[in-house]
Symmetry: C2
Subunit: 104 residues, 2 copies
Amino acid sequence: MPHVINKPPRASGEYRRGADVFKGLGHPSRLLIVDVLAGGEQCVAELTELVGSDASTVSNHLAVLRNVGLVTDERRGQHVFYRLAAPCVTKVFHCLEELLQARA
Amino acid sequence: MPHVINKPPRASGEYRRGADVFKGLGHPSRLLIVDVLAGGEQCVAELTELVGSDASTVSNHLAVLRNVGLVTDERRGQHVFYRLAAPCVTKVFHCLEELLQARA
DNA sequence: ACGAGATATGGACATCTTGCCATATTGCCA
DNA sequence: TGGCAATATGGCAAGATGTCCATATCTCGT
């Protein structure tokens, strides 16, 4: 994304796709989910427990994350397991930590 | 943020603050602005030109970015210059690029 | 094939977000 | 000081989002 590397600002379409990814991370519950998944895959039941919201709500959040490509799902038996689609998300968290730190 | 490093999932308050930062990046115009700022500070007039929206709209976007701590502003003469609050944001962009790549 | 547990989906409602307009505010310069 | 250019702010209407409930779908064990 950075035009630091590729001089001219990107086409608006790219910004929209990129913004959608960040929008996916822009909700406390989804951020919690992604943080948990950074530690390894989890089934929906477990995630629902951790988030503490209605199962349908969590399912919706997972759909959001799936739609923007942040996570992938795999059914095994009667459970569906979610995992991060790209391990790189972990690095994004480090950056976020830096940011929050800097602001304080 | 990652509980990969600091085992237990963080307090909900932290997730809210973190989510707010991502929410700040979760809009095409704001992402464009941040991308431009990654190349160096710019005044509002220039950013307004690049975004192509009403000046008040751009001003609002800048306020959002400022409120979550992503950018800082400095008045010099009749212009207000914005710059990234943390250079680390550039790294986040690299991660985003990786993500978009992986999904394609 | 049936019943139960686990997820997903669709509807309804409240809330937040976005964009533009009109209107302040601020700083420069004549 | 008056006026102009650059930003910011408040208000409003349209659209997007978040949450829950009810219901559908899928998988397994019996």
